[in-house]
Amino acid sequence: MSEATPNQSLFEQIGGEAAVNTAVDIFYRKVLADHRINRFFDNVDMEQQAAKQKAFLTMAFGGPNSYTGADMRNAHARLVKMGLDDSHFDAVMEHLGGTLKELNVPDNLIEQVASIAESTRNDVLGR
């Protein structure tokens, strides 16, 4: 085998769907408890939001997904009008990293997750 890719995908290395389920619970609580950003979640259905977080984390963990930039843009357009900016995106990134650390995910995998999540920044912020 000459490929540099590992046998297991990023998603599998992190722990697959079970890891996503655990991560959603930690991640969503961190986000909701953070006064810098929790006002953006004031009028959303918590169950639907948790389901969206799960879809997002699945994507960020390199798992199967059907997210498109347009979806991200549309979903966050209302929040951009409310003032969503880089500082809020950074806060969410911080919680994503913190969540993975709590789950003892190795740093090199956290970096890969962060770079996938980072790739959505411009779509999320409508730029």
């Binding site: 609580r29 918590m46 639907q48 879809a55």
Partner: protein, 328 residues
């Protein structure tokens, strides 16, 4: 042989071997919401009207949704023909007769309606009550499942509220009223009998909670059951004596009335019901939580309960939205 029929409204789609219900419907150009196609986003949740859906298609759904045969179309490889629906079914109404009407407090009446047909409901669900001219409002059933033909409701009089004013002033014992099928997902299922329950209600939000509490106690729920009932002042509370008696009778039932304004008389806590409850019970990990009443209370308490450790699967809520903007 391997084809399974999926019937949605009047339309029939053939689902092929190895194909999910969502794939079959999309192939057939049926307009159905969906997004992730992998069971995460729950956008494509539908409901079976006849057979129980395969268990794998209900992965991650709340128990009350599973019980009502909801499933995710993207995960469902049907095992048999299915009739499904995307939304709510047309309502079926049965005829009811008012058999009792009494005041619970200056602004709330206890209305008891004898229904022609027994209703299959869970304690905590609501029905739509319909006046002869078609005016409809939703009210929670306040009794347990023991009396399937005789349902009680707590109807709070709202200033300018067309329906509640009519109930308070004009509806009398002996009058008829239409009663819809029971609806809603905030209800009690008698499983995990040792689980701790926290119930928080404001105003007539006590109605569904009282039904749930009676149901749980009658079913022999063994875990602690904590009720916090709140209002602005003592006049807005009711059933204080009844709930205290219940707490005397059942060791595992605990009751705390709360008032948010003015002085609280002895035995009544001062503060908003959700604040008092979360202050007393800061760790809700593993608890089942029911929240009914004012939408602001329900939304705040839901977030607080979640941040205090309750899982979303274990939080059941029913926000009482009112038609008139002048009401609080």
């Amino acid at each position: 042989m391997a084809l399974k029929k999926i019937i949605l409204d009047e339309h029939e789609t053939a689902c092929q071997e190895g194909e999910t219900v969502l794939e079959a419907l999309l192939r057939d150009n049926v307009d159905i919401p969906f997004s992730c196609k992998q069971g995460a986003c729950q956008s494509c949740m539908v409901r079976s009207l006849d057979v129980s859906p395969p268990a794998h298609a209900q992965k991650g759904l709340k128990d009350v949704l599973c019980k009502q045969n909801h499933f995710l179309a993207c995960l469902c490889y049907p095992e048999q023909d299915m009739s499904i629906t995307l939304g709510h079914q047309p309502e079926y109404f049965t005829e009811g007769t008012v058999v009792a009407k009494e005041l619970l407090n200056p602004e709330t009446v206890l209305l008891t309606i004898q229904c022609k047909d027994a209703l299959d409901y869970y304690a905590g669900q609501f029905v739509n009550l319909k006046r002869a001219d078609g005016l409809i409002r939703s009210y929670s059933i306040s009794n347990s499942r023991r009396h399937a033909e005789k349902l009680s409701f707590h109807i709070r009089r709202l200033a300018g509220g067309k329906f509640s004013e009519w109930v308070h002033q004009e509806l009398n014992v002996g009058d008829t009223i239409s009663v819809s099928d029971p609806q809603g997902l905030c209800y009690y299922l008698p499983d995990k009998m040792e689980q701790s329950l926290l119930l928080i209600g404001t105003g007539s939000g006590l109605a569904p909670l009282a039904g749930i509490i009676h149901e749980a106690l009658e079913e022999g729920h063994s875990g602690p059951i904590h009720l916090y009932h709140g209002s602005r002042d003592v006049d807005g509370l009711y059933w204080i004596d009844e709930m205290r008696e219940l707490a005397e009778k059942y060791e595992n039932f605990h009751y705390t009335p709360c008032v948010s304004r003015g002085d609280a008389p002895e035995g009544v806590a001062h503060g908003r019901a959700n604040d008092v409850a979360m202050g007393n019970i800061p760790d809700l990990k593993g608890w089942r939580v029911y929240l009914c009443g004012h939408p602001d209370m329900v939304n705040q308490a839901k977030r607080m309960a979640y941040l205090n450790g309750a899982s979303l699967q274990n939080i059941y809520s029913d926000a009482f939205h009112v038609a008139s903007p002048t009401l609080d």
